[in-house]
Point group: C2
Chain length 317, copies 2
């Protein structure tokens, strides 16, 4: 049993994970400090010590963070949703605070979630898959089994998997990354909400219960309107799925990738999004891929982070 830690923008979760089954044996959580990575490490250390007093056999900790890592994963680089973080040696801070643990590793949260899916989830029997996280931003992780290599594909400097910045339209929607037409600029939470709001404002003939929620639109609210039968809300997710399928087709063609696992809040929109994505994916891929491409829902929701983080110290990536 290892300790998995999932650092989020608002909450940090810790879980004791049985890495032979993926079961979470115990869990705790606390609010993410707004004062930087040192304080975060101190708080995690305190909780980890509490857990170790109850489970003294635990001597490894895996940590998932919402940011990019450098090549050897010693530094977390500019995580957009963690206040006061620049380039932070989180692994070192934790190792210094927790000498009683033999091994501590840190990795990007999407990569950690892909590890959970590969080990016990929707990617269990697969040699290759792309995990897509549809959350505040759109993230991803490439899982590959190439000859002697098996694990998360990292690329030249460790940052591979940035599916959110796959552009599907060079003249498309501006993305905060500086490019245009990135899939994140359509499906990222704020972008999706903002596009929906604008459509309602521009075209007063659209009937939708979302008109009452214009000031606080979120993908969750749009999805709930869809589930209440709102036609416009349904169209929002049909379009989102169609665009997502186009971006996935690019990955399918480039990497000969057959399976795409979707997780994160926006994936909760469910069938409408998945069906539209599958249809456009099929229509866009090379002929030989049409019968084999497939979109699956992530198996793990909230717990992907702690389970995958624990797997990080079982299987070195």
């Amino acid at each position: 049993m290892f300790l998995g830690v999932d650092i989020g923008g608002t909450t940090i979760k810790l879980g004791v994970v049985d890495v032979s089954s993926g079961a979470v044996v115990a869990e705790s959580s606390f609010p993410t400090p707004k004062t930087g990575s040192r304080d975060t490490a101190t708080d995690i250390a305190e909780h980890a010590r509490d857990i170790k007093s109850a489970f003294p056999e635990i001597d490894r900790i895996g940590v998932g963070v919402p940011g990019a890592m450098n090549r050897d994963r010693s530094l977390v680089r500019y995580p957009p949703n963690l206040v006061g973080w620049k380039e932070e040696p989180l692994e070192r801070y934790l190792t210094e605070s927790l000498p009683e643990f033999r091994r501590i590793e840190v990795d990007n949260d999407a990569k950690v979630a892909a590890l959970a899916e590969a080990s016990f989830g929707a990617g269990r029997e697969l040699s290759h898959f792309l995990l897509v996280t549809l959350g505040t931003g759109v993230g991803g992780a490439i899982y590959s089994n190439e000859g002697p290599f098996k694990g998360i594909y990292r690329g030249a400097s460790g940052g591979a998997g940035e599916f959110g910045h796959m552009s599907i339209d060079i003249n498309g929607a501006p993305c905060q990354c500086g490019s245009r037409g990135c899939i994140e600029a359509y499906l990222g939470q704020q972008y999706l909400s903002e596009r929906t709001r604008k459509k309602l404002q521009i075209d007063p003939s659209i009937h939708s219960i979302l008109r009452d929620r214009l000031s606080d639109l979120t993908p969750k609210i749009i999805a709930s309107a869809m589930h209440q039968g709102d036609e416009f809300a349904t169209q929002v997710f049909e379009e989102a799925g169609m665009l997502l399928g186009c971006a996935l087709a690019n990955v399918a063609n480039l990497l000969d990738m057959h399976v795409f696992i979707l997780g994160g809040g926006v994936a909760e929109a469910g069938d409408v999004l998945f069906r539209a994505a599958q249809t456009s994916l099929r229509a866009r891929v090379l002929a030989n891929l049409r019968p084999v491409v497939e979109i699956r829902k992530a198996h793990f929701g909230n717990q992907a982070g702690i389970i995958g983080a624990a797997m990080l110290v079982r299987d070195p990536l």
Copy 2:
């Protein structure tokens, strides 16, 4: 020394390659038979036997083909430019015809060319690169060094590297693959020529010496007009480079890929194409990649096929 064979749509080349240096010690060639894979194998066998009588120590043959392979590389699948080929067990035909050789392997031509560049060419010191072949079509091969794995990235069923069908515009130019906006639909030889012809026909105010060549436009002719100072021809390659850079940016972001090696006839357009591609690549990638992304010219031209094919039997991919 091994024998490398490069099967093209019009010519088949054979070369005796010193795989310690990449030097081609002897070469021969003959026209590609128009009567299918069995006759091709028979003709190759005849030439290989001639070569073996001069170099009796040669006992391995590597072969590059312009088509996709199945996962274990036993079948060449529907090569578009080889007349009468469907799913062809070329390796078996060659092994049956040439029992005096101990080992024969077949692979896709772009993957073989990437192996030549990785071993002795523009990719020599790199851990990761994408080779792009700008020819009749646009092809590619991903070279990766991920932990214990080092070589051509193959994906779930062996077809990874199809960069030509990276779409940069979901509403863009129709591609013969059935999708839209594929980079091949802009830079493939026929597409590039056809787009150029149409522009000249639609806008009679364009001054260009290409007007005299409307019936037989090729990228080579357009490039030669550019080198004579034709402004419109220069714009054609500036646009091509700009579009190429956008497609490369998608690969850079997804795979954390820093270096792109361009080969094939269209790459001969030279500086104008390369500069435009580099500019749009830099403008489109994620901020952390901007200082490191780089486009290089392939080191090997015509001989990439035979050198890489010979490397195929030295280093199993």
